[in-house]
């Protein structure tokens, strides 16, 4: 499909992606000039270090949105917090860290399946269903820990969060890149990818073609939960403790990253490469602001602004 395409065709096909990369380079220049200690490979490593959590969460978010049906997962932050704390509690018992990792992932899938059941079986609008589960998951993470970080992982576990190859963190190379590559291949090549786009474009038509819309959608919510749990895993390994507030604001940031990356909020349009670029863009912005000593509330405002602008731009491209 991509054979014989010149660069101009690629730019025409993914205008948003190239716009993003242009913006990203501008941003890097700006920070390199104005923020001391920003420039250097160490900073690139740091940006990637921070990117992993958002990237994994956003991948799930973007797949849920792509599949249409007003799909959205506001509970991702709650899942990251709750799966992470549950993992810490398991690791604190005698069973050790390895089973805790497995349980963390399964638990994420379980939480995702609750979203899936509410949306698919009970046909509750995803935005209100996942808002409710966000309350429950995030609240539970606070309640069972009393708001305090939970330690107790075995020492070797830290390598997953802190080990770097060259300057690049191992979890970015070993989790984010394969996950996005796989998602890219599935979305562009595999039947499942076609189904997801078809559902997002016209659900009724997809159903009449014989696509198991409910099953695919349920699976995507489970996958989103599992990816959030993977993000929790990385966060735990990095901090060597489970912070119950680690998922704070992730729903806003992951939505922004997905939509900024060119995913249509109405589903059926978008690709994961753009989403990864958007994640890197947002994290670069946040890291630069942090190094410049700007209060994190400003980051929240900026992310909110980007969220609105990205949909705004998409809507005007449409007409």
């Amino acid at each position: 499909m991509a054979r014989g395409l010149g660069p101009s065709v690629w730019i025409q096909r993914f205008p948003q992606l190239f716009g993003l990369i242009g913006l990203w380079i501008l941003l890097l220049f700006y920070f390199a000039v104005w923020v001391p200690h920003f420039y250097g490979f160490g900073t690139l490593g740091n940006i990637l270090q921070f990117s992993t959590i958002l990237a994994l969460v956003t991948l799930g978010q973007c797949l849920v949105i792509l599949a249409g049906g007003a799909g959205i997962d506001l509970s991702v932050g709650g899942i990251v917090s709750l799966a992470g704390t549950v993992m810490a509690f398991v690791a604190q018992t005698a069973v050790g860290t390895v089973p805790a990792i497995v349980i963390c992932l399964l638990f994420g899938a379980l939480l995702g399946s609750i979203n899936g059941i509410l949306v698919v079986r009970f046909k509750i609008l995803p935005l209100i269903a996942t808002l409710g589960t966000f309350f429950v998951f995030y609240g539970l993470a606070q309640a069972i820990t009393g708001g305090a970080p939970q330690a107790g992982f075995e020492k070797w576990f830290a390598f997953l969060g802190r080990q770097r190859i060259g300057h690049l963190p191992i979890h970015f190379l070993g989790m984010v890149l394969p996950a996005f590559a796989m998602a890219y291949l599935v979305l562009t090549g595999a039947p499942l990818g076609r189904w997801i786009y078809a559902m997002g474009c016209n659900e009724l038509a997809a159903r009449l073609t014989g696509i198991h819309v409910s099953r695919v959608r349920f699976g995507l919510y489970v996958l989103s939960g599992m990816l959030s749990a993977t993000a929790a895993l990385v966060a735990n390994a990095w901090l060597m403790s489970a912070r119950p507030d680690i998922g704070y604001n992730l729903e806003l940031e992951s939505l922004t990253a997905a939509l900024l990356g060119g995913v249509s909020i109405f589903g059926g349009k978008g690709n994961v490469i753009g989403v990864l670029a958007a994640v890197l863009f947002i994290v670069t912005l946040k890291t630069g602001l942090q190094l410049a000593g700007v209060n994190s509330v400003w980051q929240m405002g900026l992310v909110g602004l980007m969220l609105i602008l990205s949909v705004f731009i998409e809507q005007f491209q449409r007409t």
Binding site: I124, I128, G132, A143, L307, I308
Partner: protein, 316 residues
Amino acid sequence: MGPRELALLTACILALSVFTSCSPYFFTGGNFATIARNSVELMVIGLGMTLVLAIGGIDISLGAAMGVSAFFVGRSIELGFSPILIVMVGPLAGSVMGGVSAFTIIAGRIPPIIATLGLFGIYRALIFFLLGGRWLSGLEDVLGTVVKTSIFGVPLLSLQILALFLAGYVILRRTPLGVAILAIGGNEHSAHLAGIRIVRTKVFVYVTGGFLAGIAATYYVAQYRNVEMTVGGTVALDAIVAAVLGGATVLGGRVSLLGTALGVILVRMLQNGLLLIGVPSLWQQTIIGGLLISVLVIDAVTPQLKGRKPKAWQEA
């Protein structure tokens, strides 16, 4: 009063009797005053949220808009404006922010949840910017008459809220505007074909939502006489819960103002009562969320509500 309101009233009475039997401090005048005081902002914002839900929209930013308005109210007290002006500042600021919501949603054609989630982040940053990291505290008691006066033993504040709800009821059920709001919530396309002015009605609803957030902010400042970063933090989400408990649907076209009021009372009474019987406050969020999900599931499996309004993705 429909079956929904009756069920909610029963739930309120049930909660009341459980808490009374479990805690000696619950069934006291002082505690009821506390519950009432804590319900004020949620009542007003809940009314606004109900109108927004009626049109098939949602406004997550109402709580943050309340925070921004509260700053303007507090600042105008600090600057020594006349009381009449101070009372007008909050609703004015709120209406402007409601207008911004309406503009973003209508002109930008952005889904309400996305637009107002973004505005929520922006307003939070705005509050920080306006406050500059400090608190407005120890404000002069200029607005005391608004919240402390009683007429024949009935607090003036509760009469004001009652008046707001009555006005909401009249608009929603007794005027063409109300018909337009519910029609748009029911089916925007049909409403458009029927000649209803969509844009005008939506602007009215979102501006009213912001206006009410401004009123809530005025009440807040009048009661507590300080403004901090966290004013209005989660009140918008609580308002959605209260409205949905009361029988509103996020799909639009079906709401109950009485239901919302009862929902607010139930939410605040649960929060208060659970605290008094010794449940740590960290559990509140979980319990409110669980309540929301249970109601959504009950709504989904109740036959008369099923298939009420098939959307494109629910057909076939």
